[in-house]
């Protein structure tokens, strides 16, 4: 089940994120039972799998929200296994949530400014000793926030409370806020769910542009197969808490185990696709 762990080395680069043998249990439920994959720097990687496969749990483990039970997680060559969420975020790995976490009783602009990095005014000591540095940084961060909001069509909502936005707009705000943090790697949990196709396209364009211009790496959970197959360099498939396969979209699409995982039942795979190679049994 753990083959192709090295396939993240697209273009021969070191993987930015490497996950091996990660387990997460909740009492008797074994939600993640052997996650094994790597993500190449500057790539766009999709994480797919049927509902209950453990994708969101794995996201929570990687980003520090759930303490892992076993395994190895390294980011930019250093272990982030069991580190606190804010420490991981400070190293440039920013995530979004499946159920959007817009800060509802705060204005849109404050949501954005909050995510601005290196703000000395966020620390009591430097706020009081160097208030000018705080104000200067605030102006820079604000400028960047306005640019990002404009590109997501949210610039007219600047002073509205985030709670008054529509679900789709909140989703965009959350992504814009993640980008405010100047991330090196972004983890998106179902970014396309609930937003209209026009805005969805813009979100994807953004993702491609950031990858090309700034080399930002993306890992995203998504159920829309068109998006997964057309946007990503590689696809990781999870089922029953395990990673089954990691490969290029066209390879994954043809892999009988994937169809098997999605449709369930042992025999479906043979019927659905031609030439079933060494069939894996462990998930049947």
């Amino acid at each position: 089940m753990n083959e192709r762990a090295d396939s993240g080395n697209v273009n021969g680069k070191e993987p930015i994120l490497a996950v091996a043998g990660v387990h997460k249990r909740f009492g008797g439920i074994h939600a993640v039972r052997g996650a094994h994959f790597s993500v190449a720097e500057g790539s766009i990687t999709a994480l797919i799998g049927p509902n209950g496969a453990g994708k969101t749990t794995l996201f929570n483990v990687i980003t520090g929200f759930y303490p892992p039970d076993a395994g190895m997680i390294s980011y930019q060559g250093r272990s982030i296994y069991g580190k606190a969420p804010h420490r991981i975020a400070q190293r440039g790995m920013i995530r979004t949530f499946q159920i959007t976490k817009a800060l509802r009783a705060m204005p849109v602009i404050d949501n954005m400014l909050l995510a601005g990095s290196r703000q000395p005014g966020e620390h009591l000591h430097s706020l009081l000793t160097q208030p000018r540095a705080s104000r200067r940084r605030e102006a820079e961060v604000r400028e960047r926030a306005l640019e990002l909001l404009a590109s997501f069509d949210l610039d007219k909502k600047l002073d509205d409370y985030a709670g008054t936005l529509s679900g789709g707009q909140r989703k965009l705000l959350e992504l814009a806020r993640a980008l405010m943090a100047e991330p090196r790697m972004v983890l998106l949990d179902e970014p396309m769910a609930g937003i209209n196709p026009t805005l969805g396209r813009r979100l994807l364009e953004h993702m491609q542009k950031l990858r090309e211009e700034d080399g930002v790496t993306f890992l995203f959970v998504e159920h829309d197969m068109d998006v997964v197959m057309n946007q990503s360099d590689e696809v990781i498939v999870m089922a029953n808490g395990e990673t089954l396969i990691q490969d290029k979209p066209e390879v994954v699409r043809a892999d009988p185990r994937v169809i098997d995982a999605y449709l369930g039942g042992g025999g479906v795979a043979e019927k659905a696709e031609a030439s079933p190679p060494a069939e894996s049994e462990e998930h049947a």
Binding site: H86, T96, Y161, T164, R177
Partner: protein
């Protein structure tokens, strides 16, 4: 008919409204509770931390200041800052385990802490004078905690308040009122500036959604500790004022009811507004003290109960018709869900 009108007139005689002493007493209590509630506002209104231990922090501030002056022999200049540091330290010590709890459990843990402090003070008679307060210790050492304050108060009265022509208890209380409200105003302004800074923005984000803040690299636990520490430090100031006012310190002044009354002030004024605390505390104490003056032919116990019945009714009506409080923002309350 006219007889009824007569009794009604007697019942709502408003003479007390023109008397200095009424307003001075309202002002002193409103001020002390205002200081307490400012700290709560930072915790509850801005950070989402349900601190119910404010009376305990007030007690630590009051007792440590008194002990440092009376037993250790320090001057105010050393004792007051030191007692504030001790209280901040206590806040952090409580926060270390308690702030890892979810909000409602945090409330229970902090109220328990506050009772531990009070009951310890009640029983550590050598140190605190137990139920009798610190009076006996003061006599033993021939050192009174309030002496330097009394000197300062007399000086203020003689030099600054002479034209008003106060006498008796009013002459003693007026300087205290001034000092309390100057402090309250300065604290409210300072805190307002603080929560408008990027630091305050992180606090509000934690109030809204701790996980979102953590996902953006903010150490939520550290910010909650800072919020609680500052609030405890402010409660210490309220503790000193209480000692100045009562001229002694007694564990009964730190019952959980004190925290609850400070919460009433907070809710009345509205969450996430320090100006609201100032308005809330004046309204609340005007009501509580004003009801004492209304002559309904009731005995002392009945009046004491009536005060709280009416205060409770006002809070219920407030919740029904203006749940955001006098100065709170309705949007923040509705959208925060």
């Amino acid at each position: 008919m006219s007889a009824v009108a007569d009794t009604l007139l007697v019942a709502i005689s408003t003479d007390f409204l023109t008397q200095w002493s009424f307003w001075i007493v309202v002002g002193i209590f409103a001020g002390i509770y205002g200081v307490l509630a400012l700290g709560l506002q930072l915790n509850v209104g801005y950070t989402g931390v349900l601190n119910f231990g404010q009376a305990g922090f007030m007690a630590i501030g009051a007792y440590s200041a008194v002990i440092l002056v009376v037993d250790v022999g320090l001057s105010y200049a050393a004792a007051l800052p030191l007692s504030m540091l001790i209280t901040v330290g206590a806040g952090l010590l409580v926060g270390l385990p308690a702030l890892r709890l979810r909000s409602d459990y945090l409330a229970i843990a902090t109220i328990a802490f506050s009772e531990v402090v009070r009951i310890t003070a009640k029983n550590a008679r050598e140190l605190t004078g137990g139920n009798q307060g610190t009076l006996d210790i003061e006599l033993e050492n021939n050192r009174f905690f309030v002496d330097p304050w009394t000197d300062a108060s007399t000086w203020i009265g003689d030099n600054l308040l002479d034209p008003i022509g106060l006498s008796g208890q009013d002459f003693i209380n007026m300087p205290l009122l001034l000092v309390i409200w100057l402090t309250l105003g300065a604290l409210a302004i300072g805190l307002t500036l603080l929560v408008r800074s990027p630091w305050g923005r992180v606090l509000r984000a934690i109030r809204e959604d701790e996980d979102a803040a953590r996902a953006l690299g903010k150490n939520a636990f550290s910010y909650k500790m800072q919020s609680l520490g500052i609030s405890a430090g402010i409660a210490a100031i309220a503790g000193w004022f209480l000692v100045f006012q009562a001229e002694s310190v007694n564990q009964q002044s730190f019952e959980p009811l004190v925290t609850f009354l400070a919460y009433a002030v907070l809710v009345l004024g509205g969450l996430a507004s320090f100006g609201g605390v100032l308005a809330g505390t004046i309204i609340f104490w005007f009501l509580l003290e004003g009801l004492r003056e209304i002559d309904l032919g009731l005995d002392g116990n009945q009046i004491a109960s009536l005060r709280f019945i009416v205060a409770g009714l006002v809070l219920i009506l407030l919740m029904a018709f203006r749940p955001q409080g006098v100065f709170g923002k309705k949007e923040e309350m509705v959208l925060g869900e």
